[in-house]
């Protein structure tokens, strides 16, 4: 079983306490009325499914019942970090590529 660090509770908890809630960092359009159908459809229905790092929303369902973000590798399932909503991830594909180019392994 995976242990996941809840940034609110401040400790590792077993996976069964959590539920995933999809892609993170999806900003709701500030003025939905002004969106084209395509823009609104993009916001509502389309999600990324990358092979590699993905930023996801998770819910600590049996614990503090709060959402937080996680950066997870979709191949290895490794969770590299968890962070509160409103914060930015430290691990990104872009940063990973940069460090790989510099010969630094993640």
């Amino acid at each position: 079983m995976l242990n996941i660090f809840c940034p609110h509770c401040g400790e590792l908890r077993s996976e069964e306490e959590f539920s995933p809630a999809g892609q993170a960092h999806i900003a709701r359009p500030l003025n939905p009325e002004a969106c084209s159908d395509e823009e609104w459809g993009e916001y509502l229905f389309f999600r990324d499914s990358p092979r590699g790092l993905r930023h996801e929303l998770w819910l600590h369902a049996s614990g503090c019942r709060k959402y937080f973000n996680a950066t997870r590798h979709t191949v290895s399932y490794e969770i590299l970090e968890t962070y509160k909503i409103g914060e930015q991830p430290a691990f990104t594909e872009a940063a990973g590529k940069k460090s790989a180019a510099q010969g630094v392994s993640a």
């Binding site: 509770c9 077993s14 069964e16 369902a61 049996s62 614990g63």
Partner: protein, 209 residues
């Protein structure tokens, strides 16, 4: 700003009924095995208030302290003064438990101390109950029931966690040495009571008043 309808939800002339009323604990007192490893007591019909606000706002923390005489606990913390306890439930949520019948006056006191602030106080007394477990074998029983580490190194007195328990969910509170409380939702109370009887069978279960 919406008007808030604040009223005494449990007037003294209406008898309350615990979600475990049907278990008939009164009739079970003294019938368990002598020297039972787990002794159970329902702390029923207490006043439960959910309090929400911004812990980073000194006005909120100060107001709570003024109304309750308790400091807001940080993550996974549980503080108590006499029969009143305040537990961290989430980064902006606490559970306040007061003696039976004091919830309305407490709510009014909180609302007065926090007037004008962006806060919430909700009386959830009818939605949950507390089972207090004492004895040498309580920790063994908990270990069978939850994946959370209940060793005192990880779970000292004064800590409280929401977690999975018997394929269900509840809050475990470590209130004193060999004394634990389970905060159980009303709709799960019967299931948890059945589970506890089964899980405690090997240690002996005694019901206390």
């Amino acid at each position: 700003m919406t008007a808030i309808n604040v009223y005494n939800q449990r007037p003294a002339d209406i008898a309350g009924q615990s979600p475990l009323h049907h278990a008939g604990f009164e009739q079970l007192i003294g019938k368990g095995r002598p020297n039972a490893g787990v002794r159970l007591r329902e702390r029923k019909l207490l006043g439960h208030l959910t309090l929400r606000g911004d812990a980073k706002d000194p006005a909120f923390c100060g107001g709570v302290h003024q109304a309750l005489g308790l400091e807001l606990p940080v993550a996974l913390g549980l503080v108590a003064k006499g029969e009143t306890s305040l537990q961290w439930m989430g980064p902006d949520e606490w559970l306040l438990i007061v003696p039976r019948g004091e919830e309305y006056a407490t709510e009014l006191r909180l609302r007065e101390a926090l007037a004008g602030q962006h806060i919430q106080v909700v009386n959830v007394s009818g939605g949950q109950t507390i089972l207090e477990l004492k004895g040498d074998k309580v920790r063994d029983m908990l270990m069978k029931s939850t994946s959370y580490d209940v060793h005192p190194d990880n779970f000292p007195v004064g800590k409280a966690v929401g977690t999975v328990f018997a394929k269900s969910q509840l809050v475990i509170r470590h209130t004193a040495e060999n004394t634990w409380e389970l905060l159980v939702r009303r709709s799960f109370a019967d299931y948890i009571w059945l589970w506890l009887q089964d899980a405690c069978a090997e240690y002996g279960l005694a019901i206390e008043a």
